[in-house]
């Protein structure tokens, strides 16, 4: 699965995109796997209330299931307009 990072999430993790092999059932389980990997993930995901997630390019929440999903993206609250 492709995992994408934007804005300061991208900066903290240090890369815009990576392939992740995971059996995580939900976004939250994926977040826990990533946090367990390295400190930069731990830092980036330390406050989930400051993060938003999109699954296959649709905004969703951290409970969303990952079965059949091809792309997950993490980013801060949006500031368009």
């Amino acid at each position: 699965m492709d995992v994408l990072y934007f804005a300061w999430v991208r900066e903290r993790i240090g890369i815009p995109k990576e392939k992740v092999e995971t059996g995580a059932a939900t976004v939250m389980a994926l977040v826990e796997e990533l946090k367990a990997r390295e400190e930069r993930y731990e830092v980036a995901f330390s406050d989930l209330s400051a993060l938003r997630v999109a699954v296959d390019q649709e905004l969703t929440d951290f409970d969303a299931p990952l079965e059949g999903v091809r792309e997950v993206a993490f980013f801060p609250p949006m500031t368009g307009g």
């Binding site: 999109a54 390019q57 905004l59 609250p77 368009g80």
Partner: protein
Amino acid sequence: MRVVVQEEPFDFGREAQEFATGHSNMGAIVTFTGVVRDADQGGMDRMVIEHYPGMTQKALEKIAAEAVSRWDLGDVLVIHRHGELRQGDMIMMVATASRHRVNAFEAAEYLMDYLKSRAPFWKKEYTADGAEWVAAKDEDEDALSRW
């Protein structure tokens, strides 16, 4: 309905004119244009807008389609830039065409409220002191509850 995501500047005057003259029997045209202003702390040199290429166009189209159906609009236009911008540059515009002014205004406000908080753009401001991501405002999130 036209939704454009681009790095290049757009010609607001031409877009506004074409939109306003292109619709038969729409009595009310509203446009909103967002212009880069100085950072709240002052001294801004430039702004860079990051976006999520795969998602941006779809997210904007969904917001625009929702506005068209809720307010029975004759048309809607959304243009949003990304990349580097300077003070005074236009970031984005929306335009709405309706038979009645209240619908045109409300739909434009709806579009703006959703573009602010639901379209995948992130602004970073560069000043002499460094760079800072623009924080989302609680009031922008709260604005959505109106709809």
